[in-house]
Symmetry: C2
Subunit: 127 residues, 2 copies
């Protein structure tokens, strides 16, 4: 546990959203100007391996890192553009039973409308 790693960990834990390596690097540099981007990447990888944080791969930019280790899904909203957490329990068990497979981990990325934008859309349709 180096000062660098502590700082990176703290930044992720104090942030609600989903940070990219570069964003984490920027925040870290503000507190420790000497920190290197490679150090951020290396520690992020180690933290993901140690299951301290979660890595979110997307099809529209850099990977993002999430403090929330509870299995959950990610929705990239076409309405507001945000990357939104969707909690949807029991998916692992559902997959294992239906697919006759063993699930070590999974990642579900949805593109569509988040609850807020979806509600707005329905309203518009009804009007």
């Amino acid at each position: 546990m180096t000062r660098q790693r502590q700082l990176i960990y703290k930044i992720i834990m104090n942030t609600e959203g989903h940070l990219s390596a570069d964003e984490i690097f920027s925040y870290a540099k503000a507190e420790m100007p000497s920190i290197a981007l490679g150090t951020v990447y290396r520690n992020l990888r180690l933290m993901v391996e140690d299951k301290e944080i979660r890595q979110i791969i997307t099809d529209y930019g850099p990977d993002r890192y999430d403090r929330n280790m509870i299995p959950h899904e990610h929705l990239h909203c076409d309405g507001c553009g945000k990357l939104v957490d969707i909690t949807f329990g029991g998916l692992k068990e559902l997959l294992e039973n239906k697919g006759e497979i063993a699930v070590a981990d999974y990642q579900l990325n949805i593109r569509g409308l988040c609850p807020v934008c979806n509600a707005k859309q329905k309203k518009i349709r009804v009007q």
Copy 2:
């Protein structure tokens, strides 16, 4: 519809598995040595946009391209290392109902054991 695009399309349609852009480029080059990698990438993007083929993003290498447009999931097997198709119908509707969202598209990547390796594993445990 250029000769290049026809060739790329044919390669994907004649292949069961999941090809990377580079693999497609290799196969295409065998038939048309002058073809360029950029042409492969451009046409793959266009085909994905036109929903002729499906793009699979993964966390362990380049994107892969799949002729199978029926919604299905991908399992990266820890046992045999293969990228396996898992058919698991009705997930879109399940997500929309439970999450109060609109699903335009989704991608579910599972890491674990495929049906074959999972069956083997169970056998070992029982013995």
